[in-house]
């Protein structure tokens, strides 16, 4: 993959291509989330669990979740009374991993306590700055997507919110002057 342009500071590398990170065996308790039924995600989780099982005494809390919503519920339950020393591992699409990251950070986890195993990067959430609706679509960074709220064509700006996991979208031609039409507008 080409190196990230300088403006991509908030775009995790694992949202540009699938990356499977290694578990951090220094943690004492590990919440392991498989999001979606993708066999690739299941394989990542199986590898992780094998590594963790071989590590010094750690507690593993595995969850196989149908979708991101279910994963966030499982995560919230695990982190409710979690102590420092906890780690979160999430396998699934980049979109699901971003959603889990946002919830984990909100619960007090740090980036270095999160391990992702990304199986696909095709779908992105794009938050519209004009109407605050969120589009969810197969679109590349700096591509264009239609806003489901206000129908504007949104540029997928290379900024990813840590808080929501969505990309920033704004009207793609917002800074272009309208074509001169002869008649007064």
């Amino acid at each position: 993959m080409s190196p990230a342009p300088p403006a991509y500071t908030s775009v995790p590398v694992w949202t540009r291509e699938p990356v499977v990170e290694e578990p951090d065996t220094a943690g004492l308790v590990h919440t392991v989330l498989q999001v979606g039924p993708d066999p690739a995600a299941a394989a990542v989780v199986a590898d992780w669990c094998a590594v963790l099982a071989a590590a010094p005494p750690v507690r593993v809390l595995p969850h196989v979740c149908a979708d991101a919503e279910e994963a966030l519920r499982a995560l919230a339950a695990d982190l409710q009374d979690a102590r420092v020393g906890h780690r979160v591992l999430v396998a699934g699409s980049a979109r699901d991993c971003l959603a889990v990251r946002a919830a984990a950070l909100r619960a007090g986890l740090t980036e270095e306590e999160l391990t992702v195993g990304v199986t696909s990067v095709a779908v992105r959430d794009v938050w519209c700055v004009h109407c605050a609706a969120t589009a969810s679509a197969e679109v590349d960074l700096e591509g264009v997507v239609a806003c489901p709220g206000c129908s504007r064509s949104l540029l997928v700006y290379p900024h990813v919110s840590r808080r929501s996991g969505a990309h920033l979208g704004f009207q793609v031609d917002a800074e272009q002057l309208p074509e001169p039409s002869g008649a007064a507008r």
Partner: protein, 328 residues
């Protein structure tokens, strides 16, 4: 190069506990002093003379009010020059009310992480001073905090101040084994979102970091205020080329001192590898560098294009003597 000094006058001296002197310093015109973040320190100019071969710049953690203070408060442990100390703290202990002191404005290298949901403060001996400043801030803002303080009985400065600020969240211990046992227990019972701050002798902070790692704490949650690089050896002599000139740096003399003695001006502050002020460039004609600072990251060191002149030195290789090409 160096930031402007502020002129202070000693307004109060007290012996807090045997060997530790509390100092209050006000602006010479009585005006409010610059505010500072909790955990910041003041760098005092210690003049040469009286057994000190050169002027020193000694950093002391600020312990008092941090918002538009009318005085800066520091607590200084006397380290005996007879046992190898540089003499800065002995100079502080000789100050009297009314004496004038020059200082750099406060510098912050150890501020609380504001998005942390809780703060675990772990200090030993005179290392309690920046943590007192943290605790003062947490008490004011209603932030959750817990403090563990290891000190010798009767010799722990600020024990009453800490208790007045945070009562039952403060535990003072005088026994290292009991302290380690409690630390181990407390490290395993901190809500997610807690950050840890430690200050004390190097060996103590190493213990805290080791125990924290054992309890699964990642490095990003650990914050330390270094006293400085403990007990560096005098090092081997080496040579330096700078501006077409060749200098010899004998053992026991730092690169910074050698450059200054040759008439080069190098911005500097702590002179112990902590502050990052005296970073100098290193050219391609240099041999390997023996980095001994606490400032440069591993990536900086790997790049091999700079060093901290106050503590780091040149290393010889099998086929050439120790040499640096310094770019100022």
């Amino acid at each position: 190069m160096s930031p402007a000094r502020i002129s202070l006058v000693v307004t109060e001296v007290t012996e807090l506990v045997p060997g530790v002197r509390g100092l209050a310093l006000a602006a010479t015109d009585g005006a409010p002093l610059p505010s500072y973040p909790p955990g910041a320190h003041l760098v005092l100019d210690v003049p040469a003379g009286d057994g000190r071969p050169r002027a020193l710049a000694n950093a002391y953690s600020l312990t008092g009010e941090n918002v538009e203070p009318l005085e800066y408060r520091v607590s200084v442990l006397r380290c005996d020059p007879a046992t190898g100390a540089a003499g800065g703290s002995a100079w502080v202990h000789a100050l009297e009310v009314g004496d004038k002191v020059e200082a750099h404005p406060p510098r912050s290298l150890f501020a609380p992480v504001r998005h942390a949901s809780r703060h675990l403060l772990v200090g030993a001996g005179i290392g309690i001073t920046p943590l007192l400043s943290h605790l003062r801030s947490h008490a004011r803002w209603g932030a959750e905090a817990e403090l563990l303080y290891l000190c010798r009985e009767g010799l722990g400065a600020h024990v009453e101040d800490l208790a007045a600020l945070a009562g039952e969240s403060v535990t003072v211990l005088h026994d290292r084994a009991a302290f380690t046992a409690l630390l181990r227990e407390r490290l395993r019972d901190q809500p997610l979102g807690t950050h840890l701050y430690t200050c004390g002798p190097t060996g103590f902070m190493d213990l805290v970091h080791l125990e924290a790692a054992d309890a699964g704490w990642p490095a990003g949650r650990l914050h330390a205020e270094a006293f400085g690089t403990a007990d560096l050896d005098p090092g081997e002599p080496f040579t330096v080329s700078v501006d077409g000139e060749e200098l010899a740096v004998p053992a026991g003399v730092s690169l910074l001192e050698a450059l200054e003695e040759a008439g080069h001006e190098v911005a500097n502050l702590c002179r112990q590898g902590v502050c990052g002020e005296c970073r100098v460039g290193v050219g391609p004609g240099s041999g390997p560098v023996l980095h001994r600072d606490l400032y440069l990251t591993d990536e900086d060191k790997a790049a091999g294009d700079c060093l901290m002149a106050c503590v780091s030195r040149a290393e010889p290789t099998d086929d050439r003597p120790a040499h640096l090409e310094v770019i100022l």
